[in-house]
Amino acid sequence: MIRRRPLLSVFLLLLAGLVLQAWLNRLHLAAFPGIIGAYTAKEYCSCRYVSGNPAEYCAAYVEQYVPISTFHDDAERKRVTASGMGSSQTAAWLGPRQGCQLQEQADPL
């Protein structure tokens, strides 16, 4: 098999390696898409409602290389929702000493 189809063999070997890597890192990979939405929602919420910086400044402050697909700042309730890489995350301002915290469930957009 290896001698007859060297390219296919190498490809299958690489694929097996990738699958193994993905399995070994499954916890990290499953959590990965949540990072950008959570980072954006949490740090924007704190920038805006804890530090009291202007909305425009906070939008630039949280900007990363990975783009955000949806962003919503519910200024009245001080709840910030951001989506990226297919995952939505919400951070909410809880009080003057508590500041902002990521919520278990994202608010519907």
Binding site: L29, F32, L102, E104
Partner: protein, 369 residues
């Protein structure tokens, strides 16, 4: 007798006559401010800290605030919009040192000892019975923790802790890591270790008192009114990262440390606690590739000279110590010069240099008035 010596002798005589307390200035209730006259050294400091700012590319030194306190009096204060004197700025990892000061009060109240097993105060650490409180304070738990973030987000323990898998219970997430070194033998900077400290305070003072403890223990006695401390979903303070306060309020903690844990006539932190904060972790080995890295003490960073290595910040006295955070946040204490420096920033690259800033602070304000 030379004039300078004569002046010092007369001054010393006056101070002795007035008594030590009368000679001290405290920000009680507010800071007094005596901005220095313009001079080339003062200009050189501002030129470095507030170089023309590139907000589009986010490169270079990007200070948000610079505050210099000399012997309890503001001598230099400048902000870059939108940060002002009223902005509770994110301190990032300065939070770790602040939480160590909160713990210092608990230590003084007899709530724990450095060689207590962590598990005694935080039951999930029953899985790691040999880890002591002192090990966490030296970032030497021995846990297999990955602090890197921006360059290795997939496997970064700290990103997972703050934003994904760990965010509901950050200390519990940390406790779930395996050991890959004997506790107390290896320094590995870890926000997880700091958040376990955050959780361990809960059982020491009780759930009820815990939520207000940073305020009752530290912030209120110091007159800090701007502090915000965010918690995870389990109610544990994010001791590693999420304390906010104004530059002027952070400087109060600096002055407390500069004066050995004393605030006015009250010894708020035991002197032995401050001494521990300022003692290099015994098993720390400096990395020859990173000569500018400050030396870890007890949740504070030291400009200590260790055997076989040069001082991390060569132009700064070796008794200097600091609380340091992501993106250039810093609280520096230079006890011999009676200087406290707060710098808030939004540095997105490695341009900023601690030694360079402090060298210029010393040139402008290092001489006693």
């Amino acid at each position: 007798m030379p004039l300078a010596l004569l002046r010092r002798t007369v001054l010393a005589g006056c101070l002795l006559a007035a008594g030590p307390l009368a000679a001290e200035t405290w920000p009680i209730p507010e800071w007094s401010s005596q901005p220095a006259a313009a001079s080339p050294a003062v200009q050189a400091l501002d030129d470095y800290a507030f170089a023309p700012r590139d907000d589009a590319a986010r490169t270079g030194v990007r200070s948000d605030a610079l505050l210099v306190i000399r012997d309890g009096v503001i001598v230099h204060e400048r902000y870059a919009a939108p940060t002002t004197a009223q902005t509770p700025h994110l301190t990032w990892s300065i939070s770790k040192s602040l939480f160590a000061s909160v713990l210092g009060v608990a230590y003084g109240e007899g709530h724990f000892k450095l060689d207590d097993a962590v598990a005694q105060h935080y039951p999930p650490f029953a899985a790691h019975p040999d880890v002591k409180m002192g090990h966490l304070l030296n970032w030497a738990s021995g846990l297999a923790w990955q602090e890197d973030y921006e360059y290795a987000p997939l496997k970064s323990s700290v990103v997972a802790m703050l934003y994904t898998r760990g965010r509901g219970d950050m200390a519990g997430f940390t406790a779930g890591h395996a050991l890959d070194a004997i506790p107390g033998t290896r320094f590995r900077y870890s926000s997880g270790d700091s958040n376990v400290l955050g959780a361990s305070l809960k059982s020491m003072v009780g759930e009820q008192a815990y939520a207000d403890y940073p305020w009752t223990a530290l912030f209120e006695p110091l007159g800090i009114a701007s502090a915000v401390w965010e918690r995870d979903a389990s109610g544990t303070f994010v001791a590693s990262s999420y304390a906010y306060m104004t530059a002027r309020d952070l400087a109060r903690v600096g002055l407390l440390m500069q004066r050995d844990g004393r605030w006015g006539e009250r010894q708020l932190l035991p002197q032995s606690w401050v001494a521990f904060n300022r003692t290099p972790f015994a098993n720390y080995r400096p990395d020859p590739q990173q000569p500018g890295d400050a030396v870890p003490g007890g949740q504070w960073w030291l400009n200590a000279t260790l055997e076989g290595a040069s001082k991390p910040w060569p132009d700064v006295p070796d008794d200097a110590f600091a609380a340091l955070g992501h993106w250039g946040q810093a609280l520096y204490v230079l006890p011999a010069q009676k200087l406290v420096v707060v710098r808030y920033a939004d540095d997105r690259d490695a341009s900023y240099n601690h030694n360079e800033l402090l060298k210029r602070v010393l040139a402008a304000y290092g001489e006693q008035p």
